[in-house]
Amino acid sequence: MKALVSVLAVAVLLASAVRPAIAHHSFAAEYDDQKPLKITGTLTKVDWMNPHIWYYVDVKNPDGSTTTWAISGGAPGQLMRRGITKDLLVVGSTVNVEGFKAKDGSNNGFGQRVTYQDGRNVFTATDPAGRAPK
């Protein structure tokens, strides 16, 4: 029994290290932690809306075509109370997004880490004007 409980506890800890916290619905409802997402592209639009923000990234393909990805983040209210505001996501910028793909195979995903080309983390570091989050 003890061994089984320990195994379960370790499994939960490992899972928690991978999956981000989401407030409105569980991560598993929409995303697949076995499908990592890593893209670089141009930020084209930001929906600073409930229940989660979404931002859109155009990724150039080798054949010259473009794929648009929609990436989800936290709820606007929760982000703003942490000092993270819409203007930190600058439309037209090149961003790197790391996260997980949607379960349904569509071009949607959850962004766990978003950085500008100079390495600044959009959600935890300074904004493009050099201001620290409030």
Partner: protein
Amino acid sequence: MKGMTSKALLLALVVACPCGWSYVAGLDAQQAASPAGVPRTADGKPDFTGTYQWPTYLPGDERGRSSATVFDRKRFAPLKPGGDVFLEPRTGDPRHDEPRDFCMPAGFPGGMLSANAMQFFQTKNHLVMVHEFQRMSRVIPLDGRAHRKGLEPMYYGDPVGRWEGDTLVIETVNFKRWGLDDYYYTNSKEYRMHSDALRTVERLRWKSPTAISYALTIDDPKIFSAPWTQEFEILSKPEWDKDGLFEYVCEENNRCPGGKCAEPK
């Protein structure tokens, strides 16, 4: 143990764990007078008007993986025979398995434990609790009236409040069967559902000028063999006043209901 399912294991843990469910010490503490310096109304009652963080854990309590606060299974009373309906099996239908993903209400107490700001407004005869998550609002009469009769069961139930010294006691009844908390974010096998017999009792008491003790009793005689209580802490956040609560309209841009996403344009 070989071949034991996750659900069976969890039930064994719940039934075997007697710790915490009587919770005598915490209730005794609730009867104590508030310390000096806490906010009070003109008529001397503790004043809970203000802006707050959602109820958060006391040290040592089990935490879930999501940002919302969840109940610690150590607090649970043993399940009654037939109480295993507390752990609702998943069916594969997302409307059943995760109704919040379709912007259905969180309900009480789950919504109260969501990780968003709250604002309370207190008058002589009412306490209004507004929670940023789903803009949940609870209007709690304090004028001694009884629960309303003849209403359909509700996601948030029917609350009435009364004073016991410096403690505000809120009793809520007439719930629809619904999710108790967000623990299924942590373990999808543990989809905790309270019954329509749920009665909750909240006890709010200033324990310092900046923190409210929030003891939440779950009395669900179709599920548990006795009421059980978990104490949380609600921290005052006057610095959040200037921004106030933000709008929360879940339907505004819910792009992946049930895991079926709209293609990006």
